[in-house]
């Protein structure tokens, strides 16, 4: 039993439902990282990063867009693509899709379009954990492929911000195949060549980690994000021992050589534009 509670404690930081107002007034939010109360206005001002413990809380796709894109530069693509229920999983699934659409204002788990970052034209895709856990089914896969293909056509960089638990179970093998087709599309972009940047945010796991997210020319990650292939619980059950602290975090993968940089949210846009500034211009100019 002690083991059970240990594992619950160990997992606690992962269940960070974004800043629920747990305090009497709407003016305060409770940080799921350190438990401290933070004044909501300064929490939002600080881009949802806790001023006390620096915990990076999840952002919606629209909030991310605001963080990264130049104001007014975004033109959305494929806003009408929606998931169907190809396997007949049932009404419950269709209802959840509908309520997620209403709650997030997104058609599915990825917001994509053209925009500029410090004036550099970019094909952008941002996953939203609030839509079925950011899971990748046909629509997310298709939109990722289109972002990569349009970047290739226009010879501009593609930037994908990942935030996903993996494949969308309810689409069965159609979801798994999204891994293959997104990877194939990355290779086409590589051949142009146009830069492909990935920002891994919490969480980036399973079918998304093991496909296009792993193939960025440059892979950045936010601090403390959960990254990996197998779920923590599955690993624990398989090996029947406690996992080392920090297992499957951004810092863990930086140390093991699978990420280029762990970048705090406040420095994210500057880091991306610095890299794009050196890769995205035509070679003649660079020389």
């Amino acid at each position: 039993m002690a083991g059970l509670f240990d594992s619950l404690r160990a997992r606690r930081p992962r269940v960070d439902k974004v800043a629920t107002p747990a305090l009497p007034s709407d003016h305060w939010v409770k940080c799921s990282g350190c438990g401290n109360a933070i004044y909501r206005a300064s929490f939002l001002e600080n881009r949802k990063v806790c001023e006390k413990c620096s915990h990076h809380h999840r952002m919606s796709a629209r909030e991310r867009l605001e963080l990264l894109a130049d104001p007014g530069s975004f033109e959305e693509w494929d806003a009408g693509l929606v998931s169907v229920d190809p396997l007949g999983f049932g009404q419950d699934y269709l209802d959840k899709l509908k309520s997620d659409r209403e709650r997030t204002g997104l058609s599915d788990g990825l917001l994509s379009g053209a925009c500029t970052l410090d004036g550099i034209p970019v094909a952008l895709g941002i996953m939203d954990f609030g839509f079925r856990g950011g899971s990748m089914g046909s629509v997310v896969g298709e939109k990722v492929v289109r972002v990569l293909e349009r970047a290739a056509e226009r010879r501009i960089p593609a930037l994908l911000v990942t935030c996903s638990g993996g494949a969308r179970m309810q689409e069965g093998m159609l979801s798994l195949m999204q891994m293959g087709r997104t990877c194939a599309a990355v290779r086409r972009l590589n051949r142009v060549p146009a830069p492909f940047l990935v920002i891994m945010t919490d969480p980036t796991t399973a079918g998304v980690a093991a496909s296009f997210a792993a193939l960025g020319d440059v892979i950045l990650a936010e601090p403390g994000a959960i990254i990996g292939f197998s779920g923590r619980r599955v690993v624990e059950q398989t090996i029947r021992q406690k996992l080392p602290p920090g297992f499957q975090s951004s810092e863990f993968y930086l140390e093991h050589g699978f990420l280029d940089r762990v970048v705090p949210r406040s420095e994210l846009k500057d880091t991306v534009t610095a890299i794009l500034g050196m890769l995205a211009v035509p070679a003649e100019v660079g020389r």
Partner: protein, 316 residues
Amino acid sequence: MILEVEKPLLELERKIRELQEVDRAAGVDLSAEIRLLERKAQELKENIFGNLSAWDRVQLARHVERPATLDYVTHLFTDFVELHGDRFHGDDPAVVGGLARFQGRPCLVLGHQKGKGTRENLARNFGMPNPEGFRKAGRLMRLAARFGRPIFTFVDTPGAYPGIEAEERGQFEAIASNLALMSELPVPILTVVIGEGGSGGALGIALADRVLILENSVYSVISPEGCASILWRDAARAEEAAAALGLTSQTLKRLGLVDEVLPEPLGGAHRDPAGTFRTVQEALSRHLKTLLDVEEHALLDARYSKYRQMAVMGDL
């Protein structure tokens, strides 16, 4: 290993053997009874195996006696020379691969390898690759492509191994790199799902020009047990999950995710391995022939378009 569904059949077959024994030993003519029971057994067989549920097929796909990758290597290929190691970290016994000849033509053959018993399964890690397994596969496929040799892959795994070291060594990167690689290798790639196709661990060697699947093999985004425990917090509802996940060969064909379903002998591949080998060999030979006629860039374009279409969506 005996499946629940085949118990009545095995019972009947045992009776027939007993009667045959008596017939021979005691010299009593029981041939009429034997014929009658044999007819009944055949009907029972058709009845049982003509109406298999998704869960029954999961059991058949995992059957310990089901032919595994090395059985196909032995019976469909000649001159096999196994090659080891990923040249980075180690050699993963859960993935086997090497040069061989298919109907005289030099090629590369590789696949997941499960063990036949507990001891071998422990050695093979139950066919669950670590990153070095995927990287070995990638290295061998690059080698094959450089020399213009077609690639055959056999899929039979519960999934990529969920271990600490596997995560440390970048399981996610190893799988993604193979997918990217296989999308651009300029030689024909043919895959057969011969048993269990477990999620990313299966796909990591299965992005191909032709994906064939044996009738009772399964190929799933997640194991039925895993799906049940996530969706309903109850792994015991795996049977229900198996039905919902659309993991059977027929459903995959209907969705256009596999190219051909290969019929198995009644009762499953393990009941007639020789027949199964013939079926697989014929199909591979037929598909290879059509792929060898295709020019390199057309081959790659066709491969890209094939995967490009794998999505089912609606419009608002």
